[in-house]
């Protein structure tokens, strides 16, 4: 296809320009569809099990309901002027070239139906204003393309009206859920949280056993009794962290980092087996009721355990829900200590200790890493850390610079408020969406390749469970080591010097993975 003149940016080499665009290829991703939720996944969340007979009427009614009860949805549907400012901003468009992955085109899949049934122009002049009837084909497009949006809000930053495609995606998924078309990945997981307390389905017994195992590792590594308490009544701090921190790599190394920081601060803390999940997939499916149910588990855990503070671990969308929604959906939290932010982010906690000179680091412990930082989308554009706007960018970097000597940022158009999503956010981190995940991650991976080339960066740090899992999967696809993705508190953990800890510098296991050297230090006491 011949590209026409101005601004039809065409991909040169991607390492030089991570946000370059590919050739537009209509319907390139039309076949990308996640597995449908089983009927019992749907009914558990209060939705019909399967596509209902009168789905058209139901869908349109739900759309009308959302337009009446959600200002963002209503205003965003009316306000778009199709200026095109967002069209080159979505990582899924950059990666796939499918025009329906341009934010405005993604919104239009729903807007065109809204216009048909709810606006004068669309009712009487549908062709003129691009209004269409709700048909099976339209529904299929919704299912496909609203599951190619990670709700990362990058488009919204660039929109002159702040139109947020995430809001439209969430509404679309909510409408689909209300007619019995749910996504397996999200809906099954929300049900698991309701049953077991976390996305994994990790029960209390297994959680305790795993934490004891980690405590052993920590003792092997440091010679200190560093605890990861579970369900400890009367603790001061309740840590809510993604269950991936109890299970996956490199997440679990981050969790061990939190434990060391709490230990160093002499804090009394606990995790809860009832609310053992920070992530809230209720937001992914745009369901305020389900989001609220999960939020209230956290409140109940805090009340039952009698804690004074709530701190959230490294998790992106979770921090959005915690920071912005928790107070509304499960508050007010007047039973907690009002002298601390409610809730607080683990990085705020660690940075505060660093600022008050409460932590000691040996930065050289991280000298094998030359690191960069991936701003997680929902932390960056849907939350804050600290007192000042932008603290969500500065505090993680401050912490990283406090614990390692070699830090480099990726290109400006790919970090801070313009950060690129990892490609797996918003309910897309599932194997059935691997193709779009890879395409969506490519701009970020090209940005990483750029700093690898220019500064010799070897590792990327993330503060979100989804980002970490997604990158662990994507790194080898782009020529990096699978373990080139790190948790922020993993670096904290490596560098922190705890009072009375044994020195393990003479470790003879040169061939071991850096993450492994701790466990082997004392020759395995288990």
């Amino acid at each position: 296809m011949v590209e026409l003149a101005i601004d039809n940016k065409i991909s040169r080499t991607s390492i030089d320009d991570p946000t370059a665009l590919p050739c537009m290829t209509p319907d390139a991703m039309v076949g990308s569809k996640p597995f449908l939720a089983a009927p019992d996944h749907n009914t558990k969340l209060g939705f019909p099990g399967e596509l209902v007979d009168d789905w058209k009427e139901k869908a349109i009614a739900r759309m009308g309901y959302l337009a009446e009860t959600n200002k963002a949805f209503k205003v965003y549907l009316d306000t778009c002027v199709k200026c095109g400012a967002c069209t080159d901003k979505c990582h899924y468009y950059m990666g796939s070239g499918d025009p329906k992955n341009m934010p405005v085109a993604r919104q239009d899949l729903l807007r065109s139906v809204y216009r048909r049934y709810f606006t004068f122009a669309g009712k009487y002049f549908p062709k003129l204003v691009g209004a269409v009837d709700l048909t099976r084909e339209v529904l299929d497009d919704w299912y496909s393309y609203y599951h190619q949006c990670s709700q990362c809000r990058r488009c919204s930053v660039f929109c002159p009206y702040g139109i947020d495609t995430a809001e439209i995606s969430m509404a679309a998924r909510d409408i689909m859920d209300h007619i019995g078309v749910g996504q397996k990945y999200c809906n099954e997981i929300i049900g698991k949280v309701m049953d077991v307390g976390n996305n994994l389905g990790l029960n209390a017994k297994a959680l305790k056993a795993t934490m004891e195992d980690l405590e052993e590792d920590l003792e092997d590594e440091t010679g200190l009794e560093i605890r990861i308490p579970v369900d400890e009544h009367g603790a001061d701090i309740l840590l809510i962290t993604p269950s991936a921190d109890f299970f996956a790599e490199p997440h679990i190394d981050g969790l061990m980092g939190y434990a060391k920081v709490f230990h160093a601060a002499g804090a009394s803390w606990t995790v809860s087996s009832y609310a053992s999940e920070a992530a809230n997939f209720g937001m992914f499916i745009g369901s305020e009721e389900n989001t609220a149910v999960l939020c209230n588990r956290i409140r109940k855990a805090a009340e039952d355990l009698g804690v004074k503070r709530i701190i959230f671990g490294e998790c992106g969308h979770a921090w959005r829900v915690a920071y912005n929604f928790l107070n509304t959906l499960a508050g007010p939290f007047d039973f907690l200590d009002q002298n601390y932010p409610i809730p607080q982010h683990i990085l705020e906690y660690t940075w505060d200790l660093i600022e008050r000179d409460q932590l000691t680091f040996d930065k050289s412990k991280n000298d094998e890493y030359r690191v960069t930082f991936h701003d997680s989308c929902n932390v960056s554009r849907a939350s804050r850390m600290g007192d000042k706007p932008g603290g969500q960018f500065d505090i993680p970097r401050n912490v990283l610079k406090a614990v390692c000597n070699n830090y480099y940022d990726m290109p400006d158009e790919t970090i801070r408020e313009k950060t690129l999503c990892c490609g797996g956010g918003g309910g897309l981190l599932t194997d059935d969406l691997m193709d779009i995940r890879k395409k969506g991650s490519s701009p970020r991976m090209h940005a990483l390749q750029q700093v690898e080339r220019d500064f010799g960066v070897t590792h990327m740090v993330a503060i979100c469970a989804i980002c970490k899992t997604q990158f662990a999967k994507m790194m080898p696809e782009f020529g990096f080591d699978r373990e080139a993705i790190l948790s922020a508190h993993q670096l904290v953990s490596n560098a922190i010097v705890l009072e009375g800890q044994i020195d393990e510098d003479d470790d003879d296991d040169e061939d071991m993975e850096p993450e492994m050297n701790g466990a082997s230090a004392t020759g395995d006491g288990s």
Partner: protein, 110 residues
């Protein structure tokens, strides 16, 4: 969606995880492994058996770290790491090994 093994039919989900966990047997595991392009050797079986034992005790697959520790204990230091597990199960020890071991797929941000 089902596996046919030794004349029996074992249902599985869209991704190949069996739905009735009690229907698992070694022949089925070998069959699933074959679909995954894995030729089961002793080390594969050791991982699979550990997963099944752990699952029996805790109704969930172990954390990757816990698995690595167990592997290290039985197969030695040089094999007790994530990299080695990936050479055994290229799609990832958690998901692929669970599938072969007849365990449910680990869900969430993992």
């Amino acid at each position: 969606m089902s596996y046919e093994v030794n004349g029996a039919t074992v249902e599985h989900d869209e991704e190949g995880y069996i739905t009735d966990l009690s229907a698992w047997n070694k022949d089925l595991a070998a069959l699933i492994a074959k679909d995954e392009n894995i030729d089961m050797n002793d080390e594969h079986w050791e991982v699979v058996n550990f997963l099944r034992d752990y699952y029996e005790e805790y109704q969930i697959a172990p954390a990757v770290r816990v698995l690595i520790k167990a592997v290290k204990k039985s197969m030695g230091k040089e094999k007790g790491n994530n990299k080695y597990l990936y050479t055994l199960f290229p799609y990832g020890p958690a998901k692929q090994a669970c599938k072969i071991a007849g365990l449910p797929k680990p869900t969430g941000c993992v």
